[in-house]
C-alpha cells in the first residue's frame, strides 16, 4: 500500500514537472521534486521497497527525460544505495542535514548523468552550465526541508491509516473539574 501510494505520488510529481513547471520563468528553474522524493525514500524507507521505488522512478523518468534508455534507473539506483549506506553509518536523516544532503545528491546525480550521456554520445557536445546547475541546486536545497516534512506526514498517514486517528473533543484548561 505504501509503495503504491508513493509510486502514484512520484508519477504525479513527474507529470507536474513536465507540464506546469516548464511554464515557470527561467529564474525559478524547474525544481526536480521527484529527485527529492527519491532522496527521502533512500533515507526513510527499508532497503527492498525503497530500491524498487527508485528503480521504477528511474524507468518513468527515462521516458520523459533524455534520449538514452536506462540512464536514469542506473543513476538513481546508485544514488539510492549510496544514501542507504550512508544513512546506516551517519545520522543524515536529521532536519539540519536535509538541505545539504539534497544539494550534494543533486550535484552527484547531475554529474553522473552528464558523464554517462557524454560517454554514450561523444559526438554530442553537452554543455555543462554552472549557472543552471547552481540555480537548481539552491532551489532544491530551499524546498527540501518543507518537502521532506510533507512526505513524512504522508508516510505517517498512510502507514498509520485514518482508522487510527481519534477525533476527541479538545480538552479545556480546567483539569480539576469534578
Amino acid at each position: 500500500m505504501l509503495i503504491f501510494f508513493f509510486l502514484m505520488l512520484g508519477a504525479t510529481l513527474l507529470t507536474i514537472q513536465t507540464t506546469i513547471f516548464t511554464m515557470l520563468p527561467p529564474w525559478m528553474g524547474n525544481p526536480d521534486l521527484l529527485f527529492l522524493l527519491i532522496v527521502f525514500i533512500a533515507i526513510r524507507f527499508d532497503i527492498f521497497p525503497g530500491a524498487l521505488l527508485a528503480l521504477l522512478f528511474g524507468l518513468m523518468t527515462d521516458i520523459y527525460a533524455g534520449i538514452f534508455l536506462g540512464l536514469y534507473p542506473v543513476v538513481y539506483l546508485l544514488l539510492y544505495f549510496l544514501l542507504q549506506g550512508m544513512s546506516r553509518l551517519l545520522v543524515i536523516d536529521e532536519t539540519v542535514h536535509q538541505a545539504p544532503l539534497a544539494a550534494t545528491s543533486y550535484l552527484f546525480t547531475s554529474s553522473g548523468i552528464f558523464i554517462f550521456a557524454t560517454i554514450l554520445a561523444p559526438d554530442a557536445s553537452l554543455d555543462w552550465s554552472w549557472r543552471n546547475i547552481i540555480l537548481e541546486t539552491l532551489i532544491l536545497a530551499v524546498i527540501a526541508i518543507p518537502f521532506y516534512h510533507f512526505c513524512a506526514k504522508l508516510q505517517e498517514l498512510v502507514q498509520g491509516g485514518l482508522k487510527n486517528r481519534t477525533f476527541l473533543r479538545p480538552k479545556t484548561g480546567n483539569r480539576f473539574r469534578v
Binding site: 504525479t12 513536465t18 507540464t19 524507468l59 534508455l69 550521456a117 554520445a121 554543455d127
Partner: protein
C-alpha cells in the same frame, strides 16, 4: 535455535534480493544506451501521457481565460490578428525567396521535385523534457494516427525536430536544438552546404570550409539530402561567423527561426519512407 532460524530467514531474503537485483541490473544493462521504447515504456507513456494531456488542457484553459478576458482583451485580439497575418506573410515571403533562388540555379536541370508534398498532421505539445541537457517534447499523436519513427516535425516558422519514440497515442520528439540532433542544411543565398548541430538553445553550423562564402544574416534552409526533412524548410539565420587561425572550417552560430520556448502546436510531415527507420 530461534536465532538460527532467524538467520536462515535473513539469508534467504538476502539471497532472493540479490538474485532479483542481478536480474534487474542485467535488464538495465541490456537496455542502457537504447533509444527505442519497449513495451513497458510504451505502457507507462500511455498512462502518464493522459495525465499530462489533462493538465495541459486545464492550464491552457486557465491561460486563455487570463489572457483573453482579464488582461487587455482588445489589444490581445488585435495583436493575435496581426501576428497571424504576419506569420502568413513571412511564410509566403520565404517560399517565394526560396523558389527564386532554386529557379535561378536549377532551371537547366531536369527532375526538380516539389517540397512538402506529403500529407501532414497537427499535434499538440503536452509535456517537455525536465532535464538540463536534453531537449525533447511529448506530443499527443502516436502510432494509431499513422505516425512513424523518424518523421519530421515542423511549424510555419521552420523545422522543429523528428519523432524519436512512440506509443499508440503519444510520441516523443527530439528537438533540433538538442545536442544529439544533426541536420543537413544549405545557405539559401550561396548554396553552401553544411551540417547543423544543436547546442541547447540554438545551432552551430559545421563543416563549412574557410574559403566558402557565408555572412551574418544569411538564411539557412534544409537541403533535403539527409532524407528526413524536405528541402527548403526554414532553419534559422546566421548570427556569428568566426574563423580561427587553426583548422579548415569556420565556426558559425545560427539563431533558430522557431521560438522553442513558445512552441504549442506542431505539424508532423507524414513521409512514407523515412531513412531513419
Amino acid at each position: 535455535m530461534r536465532n538460527r532460524a532467524k538467520r536462515a530467514r535473513q539469508i534467504k531474503a538476502l539471497l532472493l534480493f540479490g538474485v532479483l537485483l542481478v536480474l534487474i541490473l542485467m535488464l538495465i544493462v541490456a537496455t542502457v544506451g537504447r533509444r527505442q521504447f519497449n513495451a513497458p515504456h510504451k505502457f507507462t507513456l500511455e498512462l502518464i501521457g493522459r495525465a499530462q494531456s489533462g493538465i495541459t488542457s486545464v492550464t491552457g484553459v486557465i491561460t486563455n481565460i487570463w489572457d483573453g478576458y482579464i488582461a487587455l482583451v482588445d489589444v490581445r485580439e488585435e495583436n493575435l490578428r496581426l501576428r497571424a497575418e504576419l506569420q502568413k506573410s513571412k511564410a509566403l515571403n520565404n517560399k517565394y525567396a526560396e523558389a527564386v533562388a532554386i529557379n535561378d540555379r536549377l532551371t537547366k536541370l531536369l527532375g526538380l521535385k516539389e517540397s512538402l508534398s506529403a500529407p501532414n498532421l497537427t499535434a499538440r505539445i503536452i509535456g517537455r523534457d525536465p532535464s538540463l541537457w536534453f531537449k525533447t517534447v511529448i506530443i499527443d499523436r502516436g502510432s494509431s494516427d499513422g505516425v512513424k519513427q523518424g518523421m519530421p516535425v515542423v511549424t510555419a516558422e521552420g523545422i522543429v525536430g523528428q519523432i524519436m519514440s512512440l506509443s499508440p497515442h503519444y510520441a516523443k520528439v527530439l528537438l533540433t536544438i538538442d545536442p544529439n540532433s544533426a541536420i543537413d542544411v544549405i545557405v539559401q543565398r550561396t548554396r553552401v552546404q553544411g551540417i547543423i548541430k544543436g547546442n541547447g538553445s540554438g545551432y552551430q553550423l559545421h563543416y563549412v570550409l574557410k574559403n566558402w562564402e557565408i555572412g551574418q544574416g544569411d538564411t539557412i534552409v534544409t537541403s533535403g539530402l539527409g532524407g528526413i526533412f524536405p528541402e527548403g524548410l526554414q532553419v534559422g539565420k546566421v548570427t556569428r561567423v568566426t574563423e580561427s587561425r587553426r583548422g579548415m572550417f569556420q565556426k558559425i552560430e545560427i539563431q533558430p527561426s522557431v521560438d522553442f520556448s513558445q512552441l504549442e502546436h506542431l505539424i508532423i510531415i507524414m513521409k512514407e519512407n523515412s531513412l531513419a527507420e
